[in-house]
């Protein structure tokens, strides 16, 4: 099959950017989207043009490295699918495809389709953990956790940190990413001790770098792990409670 790509090219954060059009002929519909980009890059190198820079690594939809806007949709048209798992059979022969980097103030551009998502690390650093020094853990079966609770915590923990939620959000908000981590930890008994401080700290760092949530729900649709925006509601509830509870930490829970 053949496709016509319009790819955002930009040499660096300060350089001017623009779309370049590439006709990519003779590709297989069994290719993944990134293998199609590999093919384009191989041809560009042969023609003496610099290849398109894009982030990618595991190509199994779990590392969260990859992700581009495809025709305006984060990770493209297939629900619950990261860019690396999207295959060309989802496109028509002769299709015109616009490929852009994640668009969000919180993710400054580095080059072409590569952006800087390190603000996500800062959110985790603010409290996305349970404080347990190595060696101090009790036997794992001491704390029974109902299966449904463990399963729901897993649903939230499935986040791969790709940033599609932010890219899809009209406000560039990171609420789904932050809520996923907060909910994962706040749902579990092990996470209770730091529940209220964690919530307050993480939300405040999030708001420093990203826009505000206005419940559009685009994030859930773009999420390659289909993480539910219900978790944002849980985070909001905990944030409000935290504002009271953190004033009197001793009386919490």
């Amino acid at each position: 099959m053949n496709v016509i790509l319009q790819v955002w090219r930009q040499d660096g954060p300060q350089a001017p950017g623009g779309f370049q059009t590439y006709q990519v002929n003779g590709i297989s519909e069994e290719m993944s989207f990134l293998e199609m980009l590999d093919t384009l890059n191989e041809r560009l190198v042969n023609q003496g043009e610099e290849p398109v820079a894009f982030d990618h690594d595991c190509r199994e939809g779990i590392c969260g490295s990859c992700g581009v806007m495809i025709n305006g949709q984060a990770h493209g048209p297939q629900l619950g699918t990261a860019t690396c798992q999207l295959h060309m059979r989802k496109f028509e022969d002769g299709a015109s495809i616009v490929v852009e980097p994640w668009r969000a103030t919180g993710f400054p551009l580095i080059r072409d389709l590569v952006v800087d998502r390190s603000a996500f690390d800062l959110i985790i650093e603010a409290g996305g953990y349970i404080s347990v020094d190595t060696g101090s853990a009790p036997d794992a079966n001491l704390i029974p956790i109902p299966k449904v609770v463990a399963d729901t915590a897993f649903d939230a923990a499935a986040c791969i940190g790709c940033g599609a939620c932010v890219a899809a959000c009209p406000n560039g908000a990171a609420n789904l990413f932050t809520a996923a981590k907060i909910s994962h930890l706040n749902l579990l008994p092990q996470g209770q001790a730091e529940r209220w401080t964690r919530t307050e700290n993480m939300v405040e760092i999030m708001e420093h770098y990203f826009g505000s949530c206005t419940n559009h729900g685009e994030c859930e649709k773009a999420c390659p792990k289909s993480i539910s925006i219900d978790f944002i509601a849980m985070m909001n509830a905990d944030y409000v409670k935290a504002k009271f509870k953190n004033r009197r930490l001793v009386s919490q829970i």
């Binding site: 290719m31 590999d38 295959h87 650093e125 996305g128 853990a137 956790i145």
Partner: protein, 642 residues
């Protein structure tokens, strides 16, 4: 060639079950107030690197972590699917530390160091406790307690799992612990920073040289000790289950600075991967071994039977693993399952459009357990399979075929996880230590976390204690400047070649040679051919590669050029090692050494040793040093899973 290097394993004395306990007591410690006087450099942020960094930070050391990813959470440990072993015996099925130890030594085909494996089995218990306390959402039963499943090479259920994303959840646990130490100011994180050399002064590792992947700047960082947690080298085959960026560069650069490289030919070809579909394929995707709990593997009884799977009646099917290995059935270890699948495909019984796979069929399990149970256990794997192949495994059997997956070989380390360069440690898949010639499923996560959480932090003080009060070698010392210049010269060299072919083209060619001659099956003639082809291809690579762009901004082709360059040298070491090891064991199968039934034939008399290769400047003729392996607790027998 000969070398004066002696390999001292430093395995402590005493009965196997007491060695680790005694050793912990006998090593020197650094007192809590003095730990802050030491700086430790960790390269890599996967399970081993992140867990070590977090733990050393908690203990009070100053730690600096380097990763070439944009965040530590991208490390390839994240892609591990099936689970992590631990001898908890929660299921009362007769598991114990000794049984996990025994299974792992046997599974490794008696080519690992007993004392290391026993220690691994001991600390496996603590890992599960630690990870659960961190909030890792392991699968649970309805009573709220932890669930287990079975993996290949074991007859007990000892594998803890988090759906099909155990590696992800364990890595996020370690990553979060790491970020907590970053917040506490004990760990400094360097992302998009690739280590390109180790700096050795007066025989000790004193730091590293790093290239910033965004700006191209080359900088030095010094520390009292350097820890390499940089993973394995299965990407030498180009097509593997590894992530695209996995590489051997850090380990290989260390090798070139004096660290011996052990058993490079011990590579694992994983039986359950999605078969390749065409030339453009960039990587192969693993389907978790856990699927073999409920999936049955078969091929048509007759060659060239191209009927769709559903139209082949039971009497025309050959459930070959169940037939050949009745005791373990579909749960034989990986090397055994891979070779059996290869024999079937070679005999013309392969399935799928390219006749390059075997079936993994869930029909029986769905009938017995119901589709809900299967969905609960494997839904994310089934979805992934469906996205890649456009086939529905609930209705038609999966097609699978072996693919390079893990490398048991790696930097040689002693019992203290130190390489042959004092002050240079290697942990996780990057070292060679625990899996012998074949790794059992769900043991890689166990080893990475064992090394990082519970082994390295206990023993690194023994080395550091000698240097209390000594400042680090300043990073403007001439020894650093020299290495920096070497690195800059290397990087510039790739840009000035200005040849006609891309780096990926050469990588693919190298991969084909390696898969054909040093993959699942190896022969003297094939290895000799590879050893003449590889250096020629390497020369062509150096002269004819085309890397465009500059060194001053993000340049992914330039990054890959350095990695492929090192793969060429590693590939030669793998073939030399495979040639020297005149026996078949684990993942290493020499065609000249097999039983009449085509099973691996070991030679304990001549090859019960670790083969460690020492760099002498010539990639084609490194020196070989052997560490004899002694088995006092496990009897060496022909490994039978029948």
């Amino acid at each position: 060639m000969t070398t004066g290097l002696q390999l001292l394993s430093k395995v402590p004395g005493g009965p196997i079950a007491d060695k680790w306990e005694n050793h912990k007591f006998s090593v020197r410690l650094v007192n809590p107030n003095n730990k802050q006087k030491f700086k430790i450099i960790i390269v890599g942020s996967g399970l081993a690197g992140a867990s070590a960094a977090a733990t050393l930070g908690e203990l009070g050391y100053n730690v600096e972590v380097f990763t070439f990813h944009d965040t530590p959470r991208r490390a390839h440990s994240i892609a591990a699917q099936g689970g992590i072993n631990a001898a908890k015996n929660y299921h009362n099925d007769g598991d114990s530390v000794h049984r996990l130890f025994y299974d792992t030594v046997k599974g490794g085909d008696y080519r690992s160091r007993e004392a290391n494996v026993h220690r691994l089995a001991e600390v496996s218990l603590n890992i599960i406790d630690q990870c659960t306390a961190q909030g890792v959402p392991f699968a649970r039963e309805y009573g709220g307690l932890l669930d287990n499943r079975s993996f290949g090479g074991a007859q007990v259920s000892r594998t803890f799992y988090a759906r099909g994303a155990t590696g992800q959840q364990l890595l996020l646990g370690a990553y979060q612990a790491l970020m907590r130490q970053v917040d506490a100011g004990k760990v400094k994180l360097h992302t998009r920073a690739e280590m390109l050399d180790v700096v050795v002064k007066e025989g000790r590792a004193v730091g590293i040289v790093v290239r910033d992947l965004v700006t191209g700047e080359v900088n030095s960082h010094s520390g009292h000790a350097v820890v390499l947690a940089t993973g394995g080298y299965a990407n030498v085959y180009y097509l593997s289950t590894n992530a695209m960026a996995c590489n051997v560069t850090a380990a290989w650069r260390a090798h070139r600075r004096g660290a011996a490289f052990a058993n490079p030919c011990f590579t694992q070809i994983h039986p359950t991967c999605i078969p390749a579909s065409d030339e453009f394929q960039s990587k192969l995707t693993l389907m978790s071994e856990s699927l073999r709990n409920d999936g049955r593997i078969w091929v048509p009884k007759n060659a060239n039977d191209n009927r769709p799977a559903n139209e082949i009646p039971p009497e025309d099917r050959d459930y070959f693993l169940e037939r050949i290995y009745p005791a373990f059935g579909n749960l034989v270890p990986r090397d055994v399952a891979s070779r059996a699948a290869k024999r079937m495909v070679d005999a013309g019984k392969g399935v799928g459009p390219l006749n390059n796979g075997v079936y993994l069929d869930f029909q029986t399990a769905i009938e017995q357990l119901g589709v809900d149970v299967i969905e609960d256990r494997y839904s994310n794997l089934f979805e992934m399979y469906n996205r890649i192949t456009d086939e529905d495994p609930y209705k038609v059997p999966m097609r699978i075929y072996p693919a390079p997956h893990y490398t048991m070989g790696g930097l040689w380390v002693d019992y203290n996880l130190m390489t042959t360069v004092p002050g240079l440690y290697s942990i996780g898949e990057a070292n060679f230590s625990d899996h012998g010639a074949n790794r059992l499923g769900a043991s890689a996560l166990m080893q990475g976390l064992a090394d990082g959480y519970f082994v390295l932090p206990y023993i690194i003080g023994d080395y550091l204690a000698d240097y209390l009060g000594d400042p680090v070698v300043p990073s403007d010392d001439p020894v650093f400047t020299q290495v920096e210049n070497d690195v800059r010269g290397r990087v510039d060299g790739y840009l000035t070649a200005q040849g006609s072919r891309s780096v990926d083209w050469f990588h693919k060619e190298l991969g084909k040679v390696m898969l054909d001659q040093c993959g699942m099956s190896r022969s003297e003639a094939g290895l000799q051919k590879a050893l003449s082809d590889i250096p020629a291809l390497h020369e062509e690579f150096k002269a004819d590669m085309r890397v465009l762009g500059s060194n001053e901004s993000l340049n992914q082709s330039l990054e890959r050029a350095g990695r492929v360059d090192d793969f060429f040298e590693l590939a030669q070491a793998m073939c030399l090692d495979a040639l020297a090891r005149e026996e078949s064991c684990g993942g290493h199968f020499r065609e000249e050494h097999q039983t009449e039934e085509g099973e691996a034939l070991r030679d304990d008399e001549s090859f019960a040793h670790v083969a460690a290769w020492v760099w002498n400047g010539d990639a084609g003729q490194p020196d070989l040093v052997k560490e004899p392996l002694e088995f006092e607790n496990v009897e060496l027998t022909a490994r039978s899973y029948k």
